[in-house]
């Protein structure tokens, strides 16, 4: 029969001692602090134990007098006492939870209390006495200890009966929660607290009021007198216009696609893929090619009527136009679902009750779409608020919050207090929109699809409405296509607007490869940032997918205390604008205990935690289509949680996995807002490189590079599809998870 399993207490003890041993080994044998060239350079071995920089934790405590590491090492050592405890799961669990919890708390307290210059606050020095030690960012040894403590905490919680006693689930929850706290919640809180502080770090709440009430933020001069309005009003006004515009356009497109006999409906749907693979500033670039000083319109007016070229496109109207182009496909996606959700039977019922087509639309269809319209509006609103790429390229004097944050940190100002205040405002706007949207989506809509088959046929649109929708949507679609064509063609002419001689010089400048004596030389200007982008995106995409799907599985399938909080935190990190995340990262992670600013690691972390919520949403959507009883059947058949995950859930989640991988990769390649703060000369990314070229007016190279990026992403999508393959199911293909919304 079945091999007899060892008793739960024995397994628990064995696992706990194993993790303790691992933590102690890490503390003893690996350098506690980060090494300048990375731990894998092994240049620390020579000095190991000699200098504080290259010592393990035990050497630091015993030889270098770093006494503040004692308590946390003590907590770890305390776990060695497990064999002395009575063989009772709950008791062992309580002791483990207490020791590991204390260890973790001490880990962060000492890390935050002692920085590169000793004590980080004067009162700490007064309380504990002067120290001559200083701490750098945590390294390999500290990381191993941190992981071991987290694992011990999970074991302890599970043994106490939390998470249905399953240590794997406990570990997964602790890992996901800890990573979200460390890499999203903590940095955002850090930067928000900075809004209350002076540049030197002293607490000064009055300063926040002063900063918040600055005329640059709230001025209303644009309404009367002259000059511009404050950035807060600018941002809000732009977002309202963008939300209204994209909703109207999205509705027009959706009506045409679902309620008319329009011939090219299928091609309309292609529209929805475009913004996903397009870096956010490409539309802006296209608009410059048409309306910019050297653009087609100005050149034509100049040559035909002698009207001097203007900078008309730079400002509110330019940004709005670009955002309308960029975000209408998203609204289209939302509105298609809404329009299709209106039950045709209701419309048929209305017609049998003597209502004409127009009356039916006005009194039945439109009211049923109202929650959907509100949702689409808020999606456009939120997208516009978070947008950075278009305002930075086209904004000119029209500042919005995201660009103002950037200018507060980059360049001569370097005023984190001001950046933090603006970030606070931006976050408030974004979260306001986000919660409104959640409420709208959350309200029970009577229009949604019931489980029953609906045999009715949708009623055709009234003629006038159909013509109106077509008059709005079709030229818009044509113009969008034209913009992409211009962007494509723009890469192959010498100087757009002046000299339209066909040339490959821009591509050559960006992507030249020469044959040198030592093999190929990647001499093109773009190669460096291109390969960095590909490498970092390729590293972060699988991590994003893994973490996202794991979180999705926990949220969709497990019931545990704090589930609601975890789901809320994941959703929240999706709502935080990239600019806020970027400034928060650069501010939080340039000092110990986590000193990773300027490394590739911070870029990868930023990608992973910016994009993970997409993986979570895709995973949860896919999970809701998989019968829960399959998980339960696996559990009944002796499958433990990790086995169920590996053999049942993941194979069935292939489409969601493809989705998460694609979005993880594509969004890492196309993002601008967050990483613009994090790139360095060594780790330059494609998008930030292009944006700088655009700002400098070097359009040819920027265009060529953008086209190459779009090609790269198409290739990546195909490759991932090929690698992960189709889900092997004998039945009809399941509906793919709906495409999550792209975000700059």
């Amino acid at each position: 029969m079945m091999p007899a399993a060892p008793s739960p207490v024995v397994t628990l003890r064995r696992a706990a001692l194993l993790w303790t041993a691992m933590g102690l080994a890490g503390a003893a044998l690996l350098p506690w602090y980060a090494q300048p060239d990375g731990v894998l350079a092994f240049d620390w071995i020579g000095d190991f134990g000699g200098t504080a920089e290259a010592s393990g934790a035990f050497t630091l405590v015993l030889r270098h007098g770093f006494w503040w590491l004692w308590p946390l090492l003590g907590a770890l050592l305390g776990c060695l006492s497990l064999p002395l405890l009575p063989a009772h799961r709950r008791t062992i669990g309580t002791v483990l939870t207490a020791l590991a919890g204390a260890g973790l708390a001490l880990f962060w307290l000492q890390g935050l209390a002692i920085g590169v210059n000793g004590w980080t606050a004067d009162w700490l020095g007064a309380a504990f006495g002067a120290i001559d030690g200083r701490q750098f960012g945590i390294g390999a040894g500290a990381t191993v200890v941190l992981v071991a403590l987290l694992a011990l905490l999970s074991l302890g919680l599970a043994a106490r009966g939390a998470f249905k006693g399953d240590a794997f689930i406990a570990g997964a929850v602790v890992a996901v929660a800890a990573s979200i706290v460390i890499f999203t919640v903590w940095p955002v809180l850090r930067i928000l607290v900075q809004a209350f502080n002076t540049t030197e770090g002293a607490f000064a709440p009055a300063l926040l009021l002063e900063r918040l009430s600055a005329p640059k933020i709230w001025a209303l001069r644009c309404l009367w007198g002259g000059g511009g309005c404050g950035v807060a009003w600018n941002t809000l006004f732009l977002a309202l216009c963008c939300g209204a515009g994209t909703t109207a356009l999205g509705l027009a497109f959706a009506l045409i696609a679902t309620r008319t006999a329009f011939t090219f409906k299928k091609t309309l749907r292609v529209l929805t893929i475009l913004p996903i693979i397009t870096p956010p500033f490409v539309i802006g670039l296209g608009l410059i090619l048409v309306f910019g000083r050297a653009g087609l319109v100005n050149q034509f007016l100049d040559s035909a009527f002698g009207i001097a070229p203007t900078r008309w496109i730079y400002g509110f109207q330019g940004v709005l136009l670009a955002q309308l182009f960029a975000f209408t496909p998203v609204a289209f996606l939302v509105m298609i679902g809404v329009v299709e959700g209106v039950s045709p039977t209701l419309e048929e019922a209305s017609q049998t009750l003597r209502a004409g087509r127009w009356d039916t639309f006005r009194t039945v269809s439109l009211p049923l779409m109202k929650p959907g319209l509100a949702n689409a509006f808020l999606v456009g609103f939120i997208e516009s608020i978070a947008d950075f790429g278009n305002p930075i390229v086209l904004g000119g004097d029209y500042g919005v919050l995201s660009t103002e944050i950037y200018f507060a940190v980059v360049g001569a100002q370097l005023d984190y207090g001001r950046a933090a205040t603006l970030a606070l405002l931006l976050l408030a706007f974004a979260l306001g929109g986000f919660f409104l949207q959640r409420r709208v989506v959350g309200t029970r809509s009577y229009a949604t699809i019931a489980g029953k088959g609906d045999a009715g046929l949708p009623v055709a649109l009234p003629d006038g409405l159909r013509r109106l929708a077509q008059a709005i949507a079709l030229p818009w679609a044509a113009f969008t296509a034209l913009l992409y064509v211009f962007v494509f063609v723009g890469g192959f002419v010498k100087i757009w607007g002046r000299d339209h001689t066909p040339t490959l010089q821009h591509y050559a400048k960006a992507f030249a490869i020469e044959r040198g004596p030592d093999g190929l030389l990647w001499t093109g200007a773009a190669w460096h940032s291109f390969w960095t982008t590909v490498k970092l995106a390729a590293i972060s995409a699988p991590l994003t997918a893994l973490l996202g799907l794991l979180a999705a599985w926990l949220l969709a399938r497990q019931r545990f205390t704090g589930r609601g909080a975890l789901e809320f935190a994941t959703l929240l990190s999706f709502a935080v604008p990239g600019t806020v995340i970027g400034v928060a990262y650069v501010f939080t992670f340039n000092v110990p205990p986590l000193e990773i600013t300027g490394t590739a690691l911070i870029l990868v972390l930023c990608f992973v935690f910016r994009n993970m919520p997409v993986g979570v949403r895709a995973g949860m959507a896919a999970m809701s289509q998989i019968d829960r009883s399959l998980d339960e059947a696996s559990a009944m058949l002796r499958g433990r949680a990790p086995q169920t995950l590996a053999y049942v859930v993941l194979p069935l989640l292939r489409p969601a996995m493809v989705g998460a991988l694609v979005y993880g990769f594509v969004r890492s390649v196309t993002t601008v807002s967050a990483v613009v703060f994090l790139v360095t000369a060594e780790y330059e990314l494609a998008t930030t490189y292009i944006v700088l070229r655009v700002i400098n007016g070097d359009y040819g190279l920027a265009i060529a590079y953008s086209c190459a990026l779009i090609a790269l992403m198409l290739a990546a999508i195909l490759l991932i599809q090929l690698l992960v393959g189709e889900r092997r199911l004998g039945r009809r293909a399941a509906v793919p998870a709906t495409a999550p919304v792209g975000r700059a």
């Binding site: 079945m2 091999p3 249905k164 019968d627 399959l630 059947a633 009944m636 499958g639 199911l729």
Partner: protein, 352 residues
């Protein structure tokens, strides 16, 4: 194969927030027997099954299997298997892989897992279906794979969660016979959940009728039908007419039940004298044409319906409208006809 072990459920309570799904339930399942949990939806029967499986944890109380307390163990640590209502066959695995799954997870080597899986598939009559995908099987075949997949682990307890509710009527009867046959042949301990009283009567050694999270009655199938302890059970187990009647005790074993002018002698050792609720089984009412003599129950046909195998009548009597079925369809009675009713003693049940 050896007899498998029994189950003991003691004082189990299950709360979801403020709602009490299961309210202090105690019962045992003898080794080698099949016990059915029967009741309307929301009565707590599926919750009990899932707590037994380890898919839900009890709020309080203890569950033991074969004398071992399993209350705190997770589903994969208990020696039980379950056949799901939806079958829950893994759609990305073929039939053989599905049946092997549990063996592989419990550490059985691949070769012997395949051998045992083939044996189990043979037991349910699915030889040669190894390589099929679940979607290529009919509903009945999928059901058999689900049974084989649960059976192959030789669990101490086999659980069935409404296993036949997705099958059509004809197949349902065939499958329930096969399940009962397999359970008796292999001497399995089984707990079976259904809301279909006929199915319950057909497959069970004992039936536990549940209502609102409590046990209404726990007994042999025949007792539940013929001697229901409560009005709820009488109603739930087959059709019955509710009526008020005067009861008078004749001796320790028998009572006289007075309906209108008629009196019937019924075996009963519980009922007290006085007016009380009774249930009358429709198939135990014999109908004769013509006016009733004194002391018999007279009636008038109110409605008559021909349903193929029998006639269904609604008859107005002094005890109220009674529903009756009559196997004779050759000379049906018409509405308005006067009839005499004779009630079989076993068809009259004092329920309160």
């Amino acid at each position: 194969m050896t007899m498998t072990a029994g189950v003991e459920f003691r004082d189990i309570v299950k709360r979801y927030g403020d709602t009490v799904a299961v309210n202090g339930v105690t019962f045992t399942v003898d080794a080698g027997s099949l016990v059915t949990l029967l009741g309307p939806s929301g009565c707590g029967k599926t919750t009990i099954l899932r707590m037994l499986a380890g898919l839900e944890s009890a709020t309080s109380g203890t569950i033991s299997i074969a004398g071992r307390d399993v209350t705190a163990l997770s589903a994969s640590e208990r020696d039980v298997s379950m056949v799901f209502q939806s079958y829950a066959l893994f759609p990305h695995m073929n039939v053989l892989e599905n049946v092997c799954y549990g063996l592989r997870r419990s550490g059985v080597a691949k070769a012997s897992a395949i051998e045992r899986a083939r044996e189990a598939l043979g037991q349910v009559g699915l030889d040669g279906y190894d390589q099929r995908q679940p979607s290529e099987l009919s509903g009945g075949q999928q059901q058999r794979v689900a049974v084989a997949r649960a059976l192959v682990l030789r669990p101490q307890v086999l659980l069935f969660d409404e296993p036949l509710s997705n099958l059509d009527a004809r197949l349902r009867r065939q499958m329930r016979e096969e399940i009962r046959d397999l359970q008796q042949r292999l001497g399995l301990t089984a707990v079976y959940v259904t809301h279909d009283q006929q199915e319950a009567l057909a497959v069970s050694d004992r039936i536990i009728v549940m209502n609102k999270g409590r046990i209404e009655q726990n007994g042999l199938p025949r007792d539940l039908y013929e001697r229901p302890a409560t009005a709820f059970v009488a109603n739930f187990m087959g059709e019955s007419n509710q009526a008020r009647a005067m009861v008078k005790r004749l001796d320790g074993e028998r009572i006289v039940v007075r309906l209108g002018d008629a009196e019937f002698i019924v075996a009963d050792n519980r009922a007290a004298d006085g007016e009380t609720d009774i249930a009358i089984r429709p198939e135990t009412i014999a109908i004769e044409r013509g006016a009733a003599p004194a002391g018999a129950l007279a009636g008038t046909i109110a409605k008559a319906a021909y349903v193929g195998t029998h006639m269904e009548y609604t008859i107005d009597t002094a005890a109220g409208a009674l529903f009756a079925v009559c196997p004779r369809v050759d000379r049906p009675l018409a509405p308005g006809e006067t009839v005499t009713l004779t009630l079989a003693s076993r068809g009259i049940i004092v329920v309160a």
